[in-house]
C-alpha cells in the first residue's frame, strides 16, 4: 500500500474541491437533523412526563396480566364454623363447577384440610385453631383462635400481616389470605379452563373418550335434541368463552372489510378514469375529483365510523360504510395514479382504427390496468381487515368492541389472548392468500 504524502494530498484536494470543500449544509446538515431529533426526543420525554409515569407504573401488573393470558385460577374458600367443622365453598362461576373435592384438596384424619398449591412443597393446611402455610422450605403456622390471625414465630418476607388478615404470596402458584373465620386460597393453573364445555354443560368435565361415545352412541341427554347438536350448542354458546359470539364478530370484521373495499373499489373505478389527467383532459374535473379523494381520506375512517354509527346505529353496516368512504378516497387516488402511468400507445393504436371511446378504454386501457387494480384492491382489503378491528372498538361492529370490553374488565385476559390469536390467524391467512393471488396476477415472483 502506498502512503500518500502531504503534497499529493493537497493535489487531490485541489483536484476535487467538491468533495473537500462542501457547503455548511452538506457538512453539518445530517448532524443538525440528528441533534434536532435528539432535542425533540428530550422535549417529548418532558412533555409526556415519562420519568414520573414510568416510576409510578404498576410493572408488577405486566407479569400478572401476561400470566392471565395463559392461565386460570380456582378460589376455594374455607369457612371455619362454630362447631369446628370446615366448609369448602367456591365462587359462583368457578372453573371447576360445583366440585368441592378436587384431587389437590385432601381431608386429613384430624378434620383438617390440606390444599396443595404447588406439589408438596407449597401447601396450606387449614384446621380449626390454626392454618399452616408451607412454602420456600419452611412451615409457618398462623393462629386464628384469638380475635385476629397471629403468625407464630418470625414473619417471612413473602407474608404480609394486616389488621384482620394475613396474606401469603406464593408467586405464580397462587396466594392465601387468612382471617379468623375463613381462609381464601387462590390456586393458579396453566391453560384455558373450560375452553370447550362450560360448567353448565352436560358434557362438562368428562374425558374426551366419553364425550365422543356419548355423541356417537349414547342415550339422549335431552329427549328433544340429539347429543351431537347438544354438544355443538354447548360449545357454541359456552358462557365463558363465547365462541359463537367471538366467531360471529370476527366474521363481521372480515365482511366489513370485504364490503367496504368492494364498494369503494366499484365507486373509485369510474371516478379514477375521470380523475386521470391523460384520459379525461379536463383539468378542472381532474382537480376537483382528486381533492375529493383527498377529502375522503383525510376525514379519517374513525370519523366516518363515528358519524355512521350515529346515523345507522352501531354494527357492521356502519363499519362497512366507513371503510367504503375511506377506500373510495384511497383507491381512487391509487387507481388514477395507475391510470396516469399506463402506456398510451395501445390506446392510440385502437383510437386510430376509429373505435368508440368505450372500446378504446376496454381494449386500450383495461388489459394494462386490471392487474394493478386487482392487486391494489386485494392489498387494501387485507389492510382493512386489520384496520377494522380498531374502528370496531368505537362501535362500528366487529371484534374490536368485544376485544375492548374484555380488556376493560381487566379480568378476562385469557379471552383477549383467544381473540388476539384468532385475529392474528385471520390476518396471516389473508396476507398469504392475497400475496399468492397478487403474484399470480402480476406474474412475478418475489420473496
Amino acid at each position: 500500500m502506498t502512503v500518500i504524502d502531504a503534497n499529493r494530498m493537497h493535489e487531490i484536494e485541489a483536484h476535487y474541491p467538491e468533495y473537500f470543500h462542501r457547503s455548511f449544509r452538506q457538512r453539518f446538515g445530517g448532524l443538525m437533523i440528528l441533534i434536532a431529533t435528539l432535542l425533540y426526543s428530550l422535549y417529548a420525554v418532558w412533555f409526556f412526563d415519562l420519568p414520573k409515569l414510568f416510576a409510578e407504573a404498576h410493572w408488577e401488573r405486566v407479569g400478572i396480566y401476561l400470566s392471565q393470558w395463559v392461565s386460570y385460577d380456582v378460589q376455594p374458600e374455607f369457612r371455619i364454623k362454630d362447631d369446628g367443622s370446615i366448609e369448602v365453598r367456591y365462587p359462583r362461576f368457578s372453573p371447576l363447577g360445583d366440585n368441592p373435592h378436587p384431587d389437590w384438596l385432601v381431608d386429613n384424619p384430624d378434620d383438617s384440610i390440606t390444599v396443595s398449591i404447588s406439589g408438596a412443597s407449597r401447601t396450606v393446611t387449614v384446621s380449626k385453631s390454626q392454618t399452616i402455610v408451607t412454602a420456600h422450605g419452611i412451615s409457618v403456622p398462623v393462629e386464628v383462635t384469638s380475635g385476629a390471625p397471629k403468625v407464630v414465630g418470625p414473619v417471612p418476607g413473602w407474608m404480609t400481616v394486616y389488621d384482620d388478615n394475613v396474606l401469603a404470596d406464593l408467586g405464580f402458584a397462587g396466594n392465601v389470605s387468612i382471617s379468623v373465620d375463613r381462609v381464601k386460597i387462590r390456586k393458579r393453573f396453566i391453560g384455558w379452563a373450560n375452553f370447550v364445555f362450560d360448567t353448565q354443560s352436560s358434557f362438562f368435565d368428562k374425558p374426551i373418550g366419553e364425550v365422543v361415545s356419548l355423541i356417537v352412541s349414547g342415550p339422549r341427554i335431552k329427549p328433544d335434541q340429539s347429543n351431537l347438536s347438544l354438544a355443538f350448542d354447548d360449545i357454541w354458546n359456552n358462557s365463558e368463552w363465547q365462541h359463537g359470539d367471538v366467531w360471529t364478530k370476527l366474521f363481521q370484521t372480515i365482511v366489513m372489510a370485504f364490503l367496504g373495499t368492494l364498494l369503494g373499489s366499484l365507486a373509485a373505478f369510474p371516478l379514477a378514469f375521470l380523475a386521470a389527467r391523460n384520459i379525461t383532459p379536463n383539468r378542472l374535473l381532474n382537480q376537483i375529483l382528486k381533492r375529493f379523494f383527498d377529502f375522503l381520506r383525510s376525514v379519517d375512517m374513525l370519523i366516518w365510523a363515528l358519524f355512521l354509527t350515529r346515523a345507522l346505529g352501531p354494527g357492521p353496516l356502519a363499519g362497512s360504510g366507513a371503510i367504503f368512504l375511506t377506500e373510495t378516497g384511497t383507491l381512487g387516488k391509487l387507481y388514477s395514479e395507475g391510470l396516469e402511468n399506463i402506456d398510451n400507445k395501445p390506446r392510440e393504436g385502437i383510437q386510430s382504427t376509429g373505435a368508440q371511446t368505450v372500446l378504446v378504454h376496454r381494449y386500450g386501457i383495461m388489459p394494462q390496468i386490471v392487474p394493478v387494480i386487482v392487486s391494489q384492491t386485494l392489498y387494501q382489503w387485507e389492510s382493512n381487515v386489520r384496520g377494522a378491528t380498531i374502528i370496531g372498538a368505537v362501535g362500528a361492529g366487529g371484534i374490536g368492541l368485544k376485544l375492548w370490553e374484555a380488556m376493560r374488565t381487566n379480568a378476562n385476559w385469557e379471552n383477549v389472548a383467544y381473540m388476539v390469536i384468532l385475529i392474528l390467524l385471520v390476518v396471516f391467512l389473508f396476507d398469504a392468500a392475497s400475496n399468492a393471488l397478487r403474484h399470480r396476477l402480476m406474474g412475478t415472483k418475489t420473496h
Partner: protein, 319 residues
C-alpha cells in the same frame, strides 16, 4: 398447390381455431363463475351486515342525513368559539357550550385553547412514535435484508418478528399498557411504535435489498467489518428512501393516534368521540375542522419534503 396439399393444412387451421375457441370459452366460463361467486358473496355479506347491525339500512336510509342537521350549529360563531375557547353567549351551564373550560395558560393571559393542546398531544404521539420506531426499524431492516445478512435464521426471525408486530392488534397493546401505565397518551405511543416498527421494517428491508452492491463489495475488499459496510456502503444509498417512508408513516400515524385516542389513549380522538356521542354539533364541527386542517397540512408538508428527498416518486399508501 393441389387439393391434397391444402386439405391437411385446413384441418390444422380448424384445429387451432377450435382449440382457441375452447380456450376462450373456458376463460369466459371462469370469468363468469368468478363474477357469480363475487356477487353471491357480496349479496350475502350485505344481508349479514344488515341483519347484525343495530339499525337496518333501508329503515335508516331516510334518517341517514339526520346527523348532519345536528352537526350544523344554530350559531355558526360557536364553531370558532369552541375552537379558540371563547365563552359562548349560548352557554346555559351545560357542557355543550362550555368553551372556556379547558384553557391551558402559558403566561399571564396568554393561553392555548383546549383543542389545540389536544391536537399538539396527538401530533406529538405520532411524531415520537415514528422517531422511536425509525430508530428500531433501521437496524432490524438490515438484519432482514437478504443481501446484507447471510445468516438465514436471523433473517427469517427478523422478518417474522416484524410481521407479528404489524399484525398484532394495536388496541390490545394500548389496552395492556393503559392498565400498566394509567390511561393516557403513552399507551398509545407504545402501541403505535410497535406497529410502526413492523410496518417500516418491511418497507425498509425491501429498499435495502434493492441497493447497488458495488460499494459494499468495495468496502469488503478493503476489509471493512459488517457494521462499517452497512454504515458506509448501504446507509447512504437507502437513507433518502428510508426518510421518505418514515414521513409517509408519520402521516398515517397522525391518523392512527387519533383512532387510538378514541379508544382511551387521550388526545383529540377521545374528545371527538365524546363530542359526537353526546351530540355537540358546534364542538364536533370545530374538532373535525381542526383535524382536517392538521392532517392536510401534515400530508402536504411531508409530500413536499419527500419530493425534495427522492424526487417525483409515486409511493403506495401502505398501512
Amino acid at each position: 398447390m393441389t387439393v391434397a396439399d391444402t386439405q391437411p393444412q385446413m384441418q390444422s387451421t380448424r384445429e387451432i381455431r377450435t382449440a382457441w375457441e375452447r380456450m376462450v370459452a373456458r376463460r369466459r366460463f371462469y370469468t363468469i363463475l368468478g363474477l357469480v361467486i363475487l356477487i353471491a358473496a357480496f349479496a350475502s355479506s350485505v344481508r349479514f351486515a344488515d341483519e347484525s347491525n343495530a339499525g337496518h339500512f333501508f329503515d335508516r336510509l331516510p334518517h341517514l342525513f339526520d346527523f348532519l342537521s345536528w352537526l350544523i350549529p344554530k350559531d355558526w360563531n360557536d364553531v370558532w368559539r369552541a375552537l379558540f375557547d371563547i365563552a359562548s353567549v349560548n352557554d346555559k351551564g351545560g357542557e355543550e357550550f362550555n368553551f372556556d373550560k379547558g384553557r391551558v395558560y402559558i403566561s399571564g393571559a396568554f393561553y392555548i385553547p383546549e383543542y389545540f393542546e389536544l391536537m399538539i398531544v396527538t401530533i406529538n404521539v405520532a411524531l415520537i412514535s415514528t422517531i422511536v420506531a425509525f430508530v428500531f426499524a433501521v437496524p432490524l431492516s438490515f438484519f432482514a435484508a437478504r443481501n446484507l445478512t447471510r445468516s438465514w435464521p436471523l433473517r427469517i426471525f427478523t422478518k417474522r418478528l416484524m410481521e407479528f408486530l404489524r399484525a398484532f392488534p394495536e388496541i390490545v397493546i394500548a389496552g395492556l399498557f393503559s392498565a400498566i401505565l394509567s390511561i393516557g397518551p403513552v399507551a398509545a405511543i407504545i402501541a403505535i411504535t410497535l406497529h410502526t416498527i413492523g410496518a417500516l421494517g418491511k418497507l425498509f428491508y425491501e429498499v435495502a435489498e434493492n441497493i447497488d452492491m458495488k460499494p459494499h463489495e468495495g468496502m469488503k475488499a478493503v476489509g471493512a467489518n459488517w457494521c462499517e459496510r452497512v454504515r458506509f456502503a448501504a446507509l447512504p444509498q437507502v437513507l433518502p428512501n428510508f426518510t421518505s417512508y418514515a414521513l409517509l408513516r408519520l402521516e398515517i400515524n397522525v391518523r392512527a393516534s387519533t383512532i387510538i385516542g378514541a379508544v382511551g389513549g387521550g388526545g383529540i380522538g377521545e374528545e371527538l368521540k365524546l363530542s359526537i356521542s353526546r351530540g355537540f354539533g358546534a364542538k364536533t364541527m370545530a374538532l373535525v375542522l381542526l383535524l382536517f386542517v392538521t392532517i392536510v397540512a401534515v400530508d402536504q408538508f411531508s409530500a413536499w419534503l419527500r419530493r425534495r428527498l427522492v424526487g417525483e416518486h409515486a409511493f403506495l399508501l401502505q398501512h
